[in-house]
């Protein structure tokens, strides 16, 4: 009935967002199975967060099963929260996921590729915080 959960990666930098999207796709071996969109930087290519790029990315990956949005820092967090508060800017079932950006993106894409629902994708991304490195 519905496709996979969509993933949006919002970073201050277009390169960071694109690269993390690419990394997550490749590590997950997901190919094009999971719609992942990068929303990095502002429209003119500078650093910052663009609500337009973010909303466009969310609509682009929406397959009806919800959209998980992962963000880096500062205005990326606030911009997505403000868009969600607007109510009608992002597809229904869009969720800001509280997760580390790179690790969370990989976990989210892997989980979405397995056909999991939005709750499971979110849980996998959030869990990435618990993975200690030392």
């Amino acid at each position: 009935m519905t496709g996979p959960v969509g993933i949006v990666l919002v970073s201050h930098s277009a390169q960071v967002a694109e690269s993390v999207a690419d990394l997550a796709r490749r590590l997950a071996g997901a190919g094009d199975a999971v719609p992942v969109a990068a929303a990095g930087g502002v429209a003119d290519g500078g650093l910052g967060t663009s609500p337009e790029l973010t909303a466009r990315a969310a609509h682009q990956v929406d397959r009806g099963a919800g959209v998980a949005v992962l963000v880096d820092i500062g205005s990326a967090v606030l911009t997505v929260k403000a868009l969600l508060a607007e109510g009608d800017e992002l597809p229904e079932g869009t969720r800001l996921v509280d997760a580390p950006f790179v690790e969370g993106a990989v976990a989210a894409v892997v989980t979405a590729a397995a056909g999991a629902d939005l709750d499971a994708v979110e849980a996998a991304a959030v869990e990435a915080y618990d993975y200690r490195k030392v």
Partner: protein
């Protein structure tokens, strides 16, 4: 009573103040942030000015809603969603009234401030815009001049504070001794309000 014209004067006076003070805001932000506060706000208010000119809303609430909407979509930094939320929520609280009292405006601003506090997770004393806005909204019950004074004092009072939110918080102790750029631009917002009331 305050009508849509008053709110348009307020927003235009604020856009002027942002133009005038953009350099100083960016300088303050260079000390403890990422040196874009002035330019970001200037970009936002240039869009606001154009939007209000093109389609002058006819109620106080609609002026604030349109301004907030423009700021959210054009600023590019954290001040966009923060000021956007402040003004949109205040505008929503004013509803569709053609004229509102100073007390209603104060109440609406407090609703906007509460939304900003929730969005950013900050509280008074964290060295943010709230340190200028909260005392100003309280003093607005007394007069526009009192609000302006409270905002200016609130912004100045951020100098000795330790930043707990935003990029400045990464600096820890080194954030002490600098006036917060967000509290400074918030004081401009309240100053423009008093200007519009003159």
């Amino acid at each position: 009573m305050l009508d849509a014209d008053f709110f348009l004067r307020w927003m235009n006076a604020l856009a002027d103040a942002v133009d005038r003070e953009a350099g100083r805001l960016t300088e303050l932000d260079a000390a403890i942030g990422d040196a874009d506060h002035g330019t970001n706000l200037q970009r936002g208010f240039t869009a606001v000015r154009a939007a209000l000119e093109k389609d002058a809303p006819d109620t106080p609430g609609a002026v604030l809603m349109l301004t907030g909407r423009q700021l959210i979509s054009t600023v590019g930094g954290a001040s966009g969603p923060l000021y956007g939320t402040l003004l949109r929520r205040a505008g929503k609280a004013l509803g569709e009234e053609a004229e509102v009292s100073r007390a209603q405006l104060a109440e609406a601003l407090r609703a906007g401030i509460a939304a900003v506090a929730q969005l950013g997770g900050a509280k008074a004393g964290d060295k943010t815009m709230l340190d200028a806005l909260e005392p100003a909204a309280a003093a607005l019950d007394e007069s526009f001049a009192a609000a302006r004074e409270a905002a200016d004092e609130g912004a100045a009072a951020t100098v000795p504070m330790l930043a707990r939110k935003g990029r400045a918080s990464y600096l820890g102790e080194r954030s002490i001794g600098h006036q917060d750029p967000g509290a400074t631009s918030s004081a401009l917002l309240v100053g423009a309000l008093e200007e519009a009331a003159r």
